[in-house]
């Protein structure tokens, strides 16, 4: 039975270079789920993290921040974007109740991706600094669920001139992404341009109504003796009927020695 709340999916991830995977996302999340074995090219993945982080974790490349080892790592400008386009895969369980809704949340992916859940595909739009929330309620299985993503690097990874410089050849500035990855005067270039699922992945279970992005603002009067807290939140009704609900707000402060003011 699923409890209301969020579960972070930060373990059990595996990854493989897309050019070394022969099946598609539907197959990966239905008939051909991948596994690590002596014959497979799949490896333990760093999620959240980057492709380069996964490769370092598996000692497939040297640590780029040790000595001059970064010079030994293939730059995306030389390899092409496909070289750093990676599949990521994991499994998760979520046994929801009637009238419960489940969302799959990505807090940031660099740069674009296609997501597959139990054979269902969703195209994630571009952009390094945006969240993605997918309603997966109707496609979940009561037992194990299969999740796969193919993550693509920024559209304009650019090239690094021999002399280095501020942001390489500046191509990365065409995308909405971190710009330091082409190197700066004090930063070595990041060979995969930080491609990956670089922030939290989670599933959240709610009832018919869910809370979205509350906003808290305080105002002060009389030399800070009086204050007001102004709270606004979006509420989304997932159900197919008009819903009456009560919205509660409670503010607590820990005074001392574990004593709380409610």
């Amino acid at each position: 039975m699923a409890e209301i709340g969020k579960t972070v999916l930060d373990f059990g991830w595996i990854a493989a270079r897309s050019t070394e995977v022969d099946v598609n996302g539907v197959q990966l999340t239905t008939t051909n789920p991948p596994a690590i074995s002596s014959e497979s090219r799949w490896m333990e993945a760093a999620v959240p993290g980057t492709v380069l982080g996964t490769l370092v974790k598996n000692k497939a490349i040297p640590d780029p921040f040790y000595g001059l080892e970064n010079e030994a790592i293939t730059d995306i400008a030389d390899s092409g974007r496909d070289y750093y386009t990676f599949w990521f895969f994991t499994k998760f369980q979520c046994q929801r109740l009637l009238n419960q809704y489940v969302h799959l949340n990505f807090r940031a992916i660099n740069y674009s991706a296609q997501v597959f859940v139990n054979g269902h595909k969703t195209e994630l739009p571009k952009g390094m600094f945006r969240r993605h929330t997918l309603d997966v309620t109707d496609i979940l299985h009561p037992e194990s669920n299969l999740l796969a993503l193919i993550v693509h690097p920024p559209d304009h990874p650019g090239t690094i001139p021999p002399e280095g410089g501020q942001g390489g050849d500046h191509e990365i500035g065409k995308d909405v992404a971190a710009q330091y990855v082409q190197g700066w005067d004090w930063i070595c270039p990041i060979r995969d341009r930080n491609t990956g699922i670089w922030d939290e992945v989670s599933i959240s279970v709610t009832g018919p109504v869910r809370i979205i992005d509350p906003h808290l603002v305080s105002t002060f009067f009389d030399d800070y003796k009086r204050a007001y807290l102004h709270v606004t939140a979006e509420l989304e009704n997932k159900s197919t009927w008009n819903t009456e609900c009560s919205v509660n707000i409670q503010i607590t402060a820990e005074l001392e020695n574990g004593v709380c003011l409610v």
Binding site: H170, Q182, P208, A233, T243
Partner: protein, 229 residues
């Protein structure tokens, strides 16, 4: 005085914006930057209970009562800050990110930010060529009293300067930039350590992006009445 319940009706498959009646506090414990006082935080818990279903969702966030004022000094051209009415001498450093492979663990954030506090700093500036830092970064800045100057993803070197001039109109997709900016603001806006949004590093964003950011980040007209401070 710090517990409130309100009833709402939400249409089928609809989305509403609900504003609570303002909650009154008498002499709240204020949040102060490192070196000026305690970093007092209140836990804000919002829950939704649906008739004939029960608890449907909940949300919790530590929150600090503080007021930040910032103006450009007409004499020196420098930026002045006041926190809770008190002037503060900013001692800060530049932050790119803590790890080039984006291994952004809570423990790494906690250690790095506590180190800044231990150095008696009170502000971290997140450079526009780096990241919009993650909520855990801001959480530890809340805890240790580091104000944050957060820039959007524009740098002079990549957007507007260089030989030849590179990307003078910024990223190709301005709507995407603004969508990311709006989403980032919603992700981070409740942290008391968040002091200032800045359009970019050493360069203003393209005119349409800059205007849109100014428009979206302006003080809501509700807070501009004379009745409110």
């Amino acid at each position: 005085e710090h517990l409130q319940t309100e009833n709402v009706l939400i249409p089928a498959q609809g989305r509403i914006q609900h504003t609570f009646k303002p909650l009154y506090f008498y002499k709240p414990e204020l949040w102060w930057p490192n070196g000026m006082g305690k970093q007092n935080l209140y836990d804000i818990l919002i829950t939704v209970v649906v008739n004939e279903f029960g608890e449907s969702d909940s949300w919790m966030q530590p929150f600090g009562f503080r007021k930040i004022e910032s103006v450009i000094d007409s004499v020196t051209g420098g930026r002045l800050f006041k926190i809770n009415g008190e002037p503060i001498f900013i001692r800060g450093g530049n932050w790119i990110l803590s790890d080039g492979l984006l291994r952004l663990s809570k423990e790494r954030y906690r250690t790095d930010i506590k180190f800044h506090a231990d150095m008696n700093m009170n502000m971290i500036r997140c450079w526009g060529g780096g990241l919009a830092e993650r909520p855990e970064f801001y959480h530890f800045c809340d805890i240790y009293g580091l104000l944050v100057w957060q820039e959007f993803w524009i740098t002079g070197d990549v957007d507007g300067r260089g030989v030849p001039v590179s990307n003078p109109n910024g990223p190709l997709d301005h709507e995407l930039f603004l969508l990311c900016a709006r989403d980032t603001v919603k992700l981070l806006r409740n942290h008391p350590s968040l002091a200032l949004w800045v359009g970019g590093n050493e360069q203003v964003p393209p005119k349409d992006i800059n205007e849109a950011l100014k428009q979206d980040l302006r003080l809501h007209s509700y807070f501009e009445t004379q009745l409110l401070s």
